[in-house]
């Protein structure tokens, strides 16, 4: 198990070729109060950098992009009813997707925690 981070401020908690995906605490704080989340559905597949969802705060709308080529196994539909949970627990309960990673070699393009910390410093 290892946690990877993208430059789009997503985290991926990887277990073999599956992972849980969400946005980082840093991203949630920068967005401000989240008021709307739009998710894609389980079963859909995406190439790296495809749009996989929308997060809107009181300030602006932000797209969520696939950090690796992936298939959605499960979407956290609770976020659509309680978008504010993204601010409360972005790296825990407010995950966005459980995904299957198409090619785990792509993970090498992502950052580890130390690199992400430096990236956001």
């Amino acid at each position: 198990m290892a946690i990877y981070y993208s430059e789009e401020h997503e985290w991926l908690d990887v277990d073999g070729d599956t992972a849980t995906l969400g946005i980082t605490k840093h991203a949630a704080e920068a967005l401000g109060e989240v008021v709307f989340v739009e998710l894609q559905e389980a079963g859909e597949t995406f190439d790296k950098d495809d749009e996989i969802g929308v997060v809107e705060s009181v300030k602006a709308a932000s797209e969520l992009y696939a950090p690796v080529a992936m298939e959605i196994l499960e979407a956290n539909s609770a976020l659509e009813d309680e978008p504010g949970s993204v601010n409360e627990d972005p790296e825990g309960n407010a995950w966005f997707y459980k995904i299957k990673i198409k090619d785990t070699a792509e993970l090498s393009n992502l950052m580890d925690e130390a690199a992400y910390k430096a990236f956001t410093a």
């Binding site: 401000g32 109060e33 008021v35 709307f36 739009e38 929308v54 809107e56 009181v58 300030k59 602006a60 709308a61 659509e80 978008p83």
Partner: protein, 361 residues
């Protein structure tokens, strides 16, 4: 790029944890640690303090100054009683809106407040008249919310005696200030014009009140949007007429009939014959906010208008928008579709405002 300007309260915003951004050439706080939604709710339930010192404050003096100002704007100023403020706008030769502003009769002069982004344009525009135009170097704060009267009235009893759109000069913590009962939130409240050098001191003293919290531009925008108040540059601009923007109420009867202001031809024609598009409130049926630029379509998919302001309304508890639609779709309860990210999202035309205005009449 010139360096953004700072209001007299800049360092206080930073001290209070304000998130500063460049807005219309001024460094202004979007929000404080309380956050946009918290600040919005604070203003709706208690009171918030906004720095609006970036707006232009101007004194107009001279013979027949009110009559001369009527040549630039379609409101009545010659009949504006002393101590009264009036919402108005400068129109261009095509009947569009150059800027909206507040004009007050301060007795021996007119006191004018214009938008930050338009202050240079507006001052040059007023200088085309044969009057004295003095740009004031003063701070301006707004204290808005249901407890504003108690907060300001405790310091300056004359403030509690004012009704909506009345103005007076009064002592505030030992400083002579102009207090006007108006604002941009839909709530009761005041704008207080303070000599620049005393602005920080007066603001700090107000903020000692337990009911008052600082509020930033983010809350100011969501509050005014719920209250159905236009933002210049978004909902009204050089192309939109006051009739299209539902601002006919701000053009008093004598002015509508007599004309004598720029663009009177178009405006009088629109008053007589109607307009092809109207500014309306648009309530998305779902949860997705519909922001500026989103197209509005009829149920057959034909584009009939565009959102000019939109976002999340904390008091409404959901998305709220304003925009122009073809007049045949402007009736309240009309169903429309919003084209958001390639999808059609259902929405309903509503009569503005989204949240009832609570002015002290």
């Amino acid at each position: 790029m010139t360096e953004p300007r700072k209001t007299p309260l800049h360092d206080l915003h930073v001290e209070l944890g304000g998130k500063m951004v460049d807005f219309a050439g001024w460094m202004m706080p979007v929000n404080y640690p309380m956050g946009i939604v918290g600040e919005h709710n604070q203003v709706r339930t208690r009171a918030g303090l906004f720095d609006v010192s970036h707006m232009g404050q101007v004194e107009l003096r001279g013979t027949d100054v009110a009559a001369k100002l009527e040549s630039l704007a379609p409101s009545a100023f010659t009949t504006l009683p002393e101590g009264k403020a009036r919402y108005t706008f400068f129109t261009n030769a095509q009947g569009g809106i150059m800027d909206d502003l507040i004009v007050s009769n301060a007795g021996d002069h007119l006191f004018v407040v214009v938008n930050a982004s338009m202050r240079d344009q507006d001052i040059a525009h007023m200088r085309t008249l044969d009057i004295e135009v003095v740009e004031l170097d003063r701070g301006l704060i707004a204290i808005q919310g249901p407890t504003a009267e108690a907060i300001v009235g405790a310091v300056a009893p004359a403030a509690a005696e004012l009704t909506f759109m009345q103005t007076t000069v009064a002592d505030v913590f030992g400083v002579e200030c102009r207090i006007s009962r108006l604002g941009y939130t839909g709530e009761d409240g005041y704008e207080i014009s303070i000599p620049r050098a005393r602005t920080v001191e007066v603001t700090r003293k107000f903020l000692e009140h337990p009911d008052l919290e600082p509020a930033g531009l983010g809350a100011r925008d969501s509050l005014r949007l719920e209250a159905g108040l236009c933002l210049y540059g978004n909902d009204i601009d050089n192309d939109t007429s006051p009739v299209e923007a539902n601002l006919t109420w701000a053009m008093q009867k004598r002015r509508r009939e007599e004309g004598g202001f720029p663009g009177a031809g178009r405006i009088q024609r629109e008053l007589a014959e109607g307009v092809s598009r109207k500014l309306v409130g648009i309530k998305p049926d779902g949860r997705a906010p519909a922001r500026r630029g989103v197209e509005v379509a009829d149920m057959d998919g034909n584009v009939i208008g565009k959102i000019t302001s939109g976002g999340f309304g904390p008091t409404v508890g959901g998305p709220v928008s304003m925009g122009y639609v073809a007049s045949e779709f402007a009736a309240p309860d009309t169903k429309v579709n919003l084209l958001i990210r390639g999808k059609q999202m259902p929405a309903t035309i509503i009569k503005l405002p989204f949240v009832q205005q609570n002015y002290k009449r």
